[in-house]
């Protein structure tokens, strides 16, 4: 599974992109986020307030309950500010 971080989520985690093998039991975005928060440090800080976090799975906007698997690309980022 590929996980991408943008804007201040990238700054806080210190990672732009990582490939990880999600542990058994991680079947949704919510599960993945709990897994990442458990790493503590920048991850816990970046993900502490999910109202400020937006999610895309395979480059489409998604919600916390979206099912994900090993082949998916999951992106975590703040609300967008383009235009």
């Amino acid at each position: 599974m590929k996980v991408l971080y943008f804007a201040w989520l990238r700054s806080k985690t210190g990672v732009a992109e990582e490939t990880l093998a999600p542990p058994p039991g991680v079947t949704t975005v919510a599960g993945l986020i709990d897994h990442l928060k458990a790493r503590g440090g920048g991850y816990a800080d970046a993900l502490k307030d999910l109202s400020c976090v937006r999610i895309a799975v395979n480059q489409e906007f998604a919600e916390l309950d979206q099912a994900i698997g090993a082949g998916d690309e999951v992106a975590l980022f703040p609300p967008v500010t383009g235009g």
Binding site: L4, F6, A7, W8, S11, A56, Q59, E60, F61, A75, F77, P78, P79, V80, T81, G82, G83
Partner: protein
Amino acid sequence: MIKVQREDFDVGAELDALARDNHAIGGIASFVGLVRDVAGAQSVGAMTLEHYPGMTEKMLAKTEAEARRRWPLETCLIIHRFGRLEPGDRIVLVATASAHRQAALEACAFLIDWLKTKAPFWKLEETAAGTRWVAARASDDQAAARWVAE
């Protein structure tokens, strides 16, 4: 048509190209977004636009398709830049061409409103006090929401 690029664009040339040889077009509406510098303590020196390559193109193409579904457009263009930009620099161009002006004007407003809340871009501003990520604005969500209600 969608273009995501680091380079600047020539508004006049882009609009001319849209209408060239299509005499069914009665009007072209466009919006150009520029890097604004608010004077004073919050003064912005420059900004860097980060985006999500791949998803950006996908979301802009979806936005264009939705505009074409809602209004009878002859043609439609979105150009969005990324990278470091200075005050006065162009960020985005949306342009719509239609036989009728209301369709062009409404579709143009729709495109920029939707893009503001759906295209994965983030602005990092440089100020005297350091850099800061620009926060999303509730007014942008409201502007996008009115196109759902309609």
